[in-house]
């Protein structure tokens, strides 16, 4: 079960959906909004998602984890909209008979979420500036290229 949520993630409900008397291990990951990123002081952030594709891709990542690691269950919710410091940006829960596969699957899911899910993060800093994470340095690299005449 992969979901996007505009509001606070309620972990107890999500976790209840994974309860399973055959599962001996439950591994969970949460991404928390930190007050600092790359030494800049973060005030708040905003996630924007390409929802239709994000839902498809998220479900696909969970299926891949299921197939690769033979886990019992997996679920993931990613927040969208405006988030404050300390809020949960993403929650993942994995159940399995044994712990090794549960750890590996949970890690696989967050790694893939981070590289494949069409979701973007805009950070607003305490100095009033803001920017889309990962978009700036690329844009900047290109500006530099243009300045030195690289096409």
């Amino acid at each position: 079960m992969f979901k996007l949520s505009q509001t606070d993630i309620d972990i107890n409900i999500l976790k209840a959906s994974l309860l399973d008397a055959k599962a001996g291990a439950y591994v969970s990951f949460e991404g928390w909004v930190r007050d600092t990123n790359d030494s800049r002081h973060v005030l708040q952030l905003e996630y924007q998602a390409y929802e239709t594709l994000a839902l498809k891709e998220g479900a696909k990542i969970l299926e891949e984890a299921q197939t690769r690691f033979g886990i019992n269950g997996a679920a993931c919710v990613h927040r969208t909209g405006s988030l404050q410091i300390g809020e949960i940006a993403v929650w993942i829960g994995v159940t399995c008979e044994h712990r090794q596969e549960a750890f590996e699957a949970c890690r696989y899911i967050i790694d893939e979420i981070k590289t494949r899910l069409p979701i973007w993060k805009k950070e607003t800093y305490t100095d009033g500036s803001s920017g889309w994470v990962n978009c700036r340095q690329h844009a900047h690299a290109e500006e530099i290229n243009q300045e030195v005449g690289v096409s």
């Binding site: 239709t52 981070k114 069409p118 690329h138 844009a139």
Partner: protein, 91 residues
């Protein structure tokens, strides 16, 4: 018969484009319908980058056509929905 069956001389077509993140900011809107003769997603991005001054080079983007990840040389059809995907930052 070829000419009468919907293959005009100009491949001008209507494409729905959705914008996200920095592209949305740079375009100042989240979607629009573009009349274009671009044959592929790649050609369409070149055209729009030029026209709207997008900062991101194509090699930093992915593209989705009709809500599926697609190759840049995917031929575009009338009424396709195209989304250019800036570097993601989920999690």
């Amino acid at each position: 018969m070829g000419l009468s069956s919907g293959m005009p001389f100009t491949a001008e077509k209507q494409i729905h484009v959705d914008y996200f993140a920095i592209l949305k900011e740079q375009r100042g809107k989240d979607s629009e319908v573009i009349q274009t003769s671009a044959a592929t997603a790649q050609e369409l991005y070149s055209e729009l980058k030029e026209r709207f001054g997008f900062s991101l080079a194509q090699n930093h983007l992915s593209v989705a056509v009709n809500d599926e990840f697609a190759k840049w040389d995917t031929p575009l059809k009338e009424n396709d929905r195209v989304v250019f995907i800036p570097p993601v930052a989920g999690g």
